[in-house]
């Protein structure tokens, strides 16, 4: 045997041939150090020698993105250097993506916060000229129209998703529905608005404005989102659970209602909440179908209503004289809209937490 395998090492000298696991490394916090150097360099260039901010940042960034990998290559070798290069690039992309987000948040908070007084929440714009007034009417409009939208599109979307996952399979009808839902997802919101407007004109004549028309327009936008997210969530429910129920002699619809839906509940609620968040800020379709008004209107079926996005739009576009109070109110309304979306997301998180299948506890 030993003759057929000449390089076979003898057992006792094996340890001497083991390769070392040690390799020179940069100090543990060298990434952080590089960041500090970049910041120092950038500020020195910007404040010290008066370079403009953007070139200064670029210069600082370039030093890190080139310097760290080069240094690492010299000390740690190729693989680690490549790792550091990719790490720097990925982190930079993340930072870049955060800039608009933080800047939007910051701008809206800065301009909107001073406006948020109790009066702002409890007054409408009826008979208000210049200072004062509030978004009471617009908050109610947004809440009512969005609620009506959800009432229409959640059952529609959820039932469609149930059909697709539980009954449709790969049949032709299911494929057609999936295709149409995809097409619907791509409908521009202004087109949805025009559709709803045209539909209501058929029944109520030209110039019709009512909350429910806006809700119909938003339903066109929201339903495909609900279908898609619910479909994905239902598909995540393991088939074994359905089979377990069938094997107990549970009919299909009961299996869906009592096993599949509860198991997917957390995901379904999250998906629906995100879909609501998606349509709550729509402006164009509401501008066409609901319009804007200064007074509070609780009736979805009669006349114009104010909504937060349209209120923001019209406050900016036709501020009146002097324009400042109106523009401030627009920021306030935008902030409130953002807060509503945040609260919705928070609620979705909580629901996910409380409804998700409880295992090891």
């Amino acid at each position: 045997m030993s003759t057929t395998a000449p390089p076979a090492p003898k057992r006792d000298d094996a340890p001497a041939q083991l390769r070392s696991w040690h390799h020179p490394q940069l100090p543990r916090r060298s990434g952080l150090a590089a960041l500090v150097i970049a910041v120092v360099l950038t500020s020195a260039l910007h404040a010290g020698i008066g370079l403009a901010l953007v070139p200064a940042i670029l210069a600082g960034w370039a030093v890190v993105v080139i310097g760290l990998p080069v240094l690492s290559y010299a000390v740690e070798g190729r693989r680690k250097a490549f790792d550091r290069l990719i790490t720097v690039i990925v982190s930079s992309a993340f930072a870049l993506a955060m800039i608009p987000l933080v800047s939007i948040l910051w701008t809206v908070l800065k301009n909107g916060l001073p406006v948020l007084t109790p009066e702002f929440f409890s007054y409408s714009m009826r008979n208000v000229v210049g200072e004062g007034g509030g978004i009471y009417h617009a908050i109610w409009g947004t809440v009512l129209i969005t609620a009506a939208t959800a009432v229409m599109s959640v059952p529609l979307g959820l039932l469609t998703a149930i059909y697709l996952v539980e009954y449709g399979g790969d049949g032709r009808l299911a494929k057609t529905i999936r295709f149409l839902v995809d097409v619907m997802t791509g409908i521009p919101s202004i087109v949805a608005g025009l559709f709803a407007y045209a539909l209501f004109v058929v029944f109520f004549g030209p110039g019709v404005r009512m909350g429910i028309a806006g809700a119909v327009a938003l339903t066109v936008l929201m339903t495909p989102v609900v279908v898609r997210s619910s479909e994905e969530m239902l598909q995540l429910v393991p088939n074994e659970l359905r089979e377990a129920a069938y094997a107990l002699g549970v009919p299909r619809w009961r299996t869906i209602v009592k096993v599949v839906l509860p198991t997917a509940m957390a995901g379904l609620v999250t998906g629906i909440t995100l879909a609501v968040a998606r349509v709550i800020g729509e402006t164009a379709p509401l501008l066409i179908t609901v319009g804007i008004t200064d007074s509070t209107n609780f009736n979805l079926f009669d006349g114009r209503m104010a909504t937060l996005p349209v209120f923001t739009y019209s406050s900016i576009m036709s501020p009146g004289v002097p324009p400042e109070p109106s523009i401030a109110r627009a920021w306030g309304a935008a902030l409130v809209l953002m807060l509503i979306v945040m609260v919705l997301n928070l609620v979705a998180r909580l629901v996910t937490y409380f409804f998700s299948p409880k295992d090891k506890r």
């Binding site: 074994e240 089979e243 377990a244 094997a247 107990l248 096993v259 198991t263 409880k358 506890r361």
Partner: protein, 290 residues
């Protein structure tokens, strides 16, 4: 159709359930024995011919084990015995299966009613993740629309969990999630869930394949007890297990690569394991192939 009404009539009512809850404690059971007669059964998945020409008589109130190499159609055959097979898209069956003389595949037979009478335990434990231990046990009864009073529910849960040898381990945490149990406990929970609806027949597809020897032996003991009341068909890859628990054994094999699975031979377990008629059975049992 008369078949259908026969099936429906024998679904135990709540009243029957409660009485048998007490009756089940005695050794002699008054439940009707149900045997299964399979005649020339062909099973397909769309174009795939999975199983061919099975003719097999499964005795009432006994344990029949099905053995054979992987892919020979054991699970497929088992699932055709309570019409779970047709859950797969494109799946169909030719031939006849008679359960106590009633044709399982006659037109008008409602698979839902069939499955209430012929329960199933799967290879991988699959408790409902949203339900507590107790709710899992009662799932079959509740999901079928029966409203249970609290003491009725407690009785059924305790009887089924005792039946599955799980009661002592979980009696203090009946309201904890079922998914929080160990794998072996989950499998016994699934057995408890299956027997809570009081089926006549229990089909088990490799119920011990994910379990340790202790849980396995707990389940084997359980099978020994259950056969006084139920007709049991068990698929297993474990020869010793088949020899230990079953009265009858059926050996399935593939006719060749890409060919459908077939029944090679069946008979009393002692005979199949000591002097089988077919050489391939002997080869499989002694571990010379497969």
């Amino acid at each position: 159709m008369s078949m259908r009404s026969v099936l429906r009539d024998s679904v135990p009512t709540t009243a029957a359930r409660t009485t048998s809850a007490t009756a089940a404690d005695g050794p002699a059971s008054r439940r009707p024995a149900i045997g299964i007669d399979v005649e020339d059964l062909d099973i397909y998945y769309g174009d795939v011919h999975a199983v061919r020409g099975i003719t097999l008589a499964i005795q009432a109130q006994s344990v029949t084990s099905i053995i054979g190499p992987s892919g020979c159609g054991k699970s497929t055959f088992l699932r055709s015995l309570n019409r779970m097979h047709e859950v797969a898209p494109g799946a169909r069956v030719e031939g006849t299966v008679r359960v106590d003389g009633r044709d399982l595949y006659a037109p008008g037979v409602d698979p839902v009613l069939v499955r209430r009478e012929i329960g199933m335990v799967f290879q991988r434990p699959n408790p409902f993740p949203t339900m507590s231990i107790k709710d899992n046990v009662l799932a079959g009864v509740r999901l079928n629309g029966t409203r249970l009073k609290k003491d009725e529910a407690d009785t059924i849960a305790e009887r089924s969990l005792r039946g599955a040898n799980l009661w002592d381990e979980v009696k203090d945490r009946l309201n904890r999630p079922g998914a929080g149990l160990s794998g072996g406990q989950q499998q016994r929970l699934c057995i408890a869930r299956a027997i809570a609806v009081e089926p006549q027949v229990l089909l088990m597809d490799e119920p011990c394949s994910a379990l340790d020897p202790i849980s396995t032996s707990a389940i084997e003991d359980l099978i020994g007890q259950l056969k006084d009341e139920y007709t049991i068909v068990i698929v297993t890859h474990n020869m010793q297990q088949a020899a230990r628990v079953s009265d009858e054994t059926a050996f399935f094999n593939l006719a060749g690569v890409g060919e459908p699975g077939q029944l090679i031979e069946s008979g009393p377990t002692t005979k199949i394991f000591s002097n089988p008629d077919n050489p391939s059975t002997e080869a499989y049992i002694t571990g010379r192939f497969g």
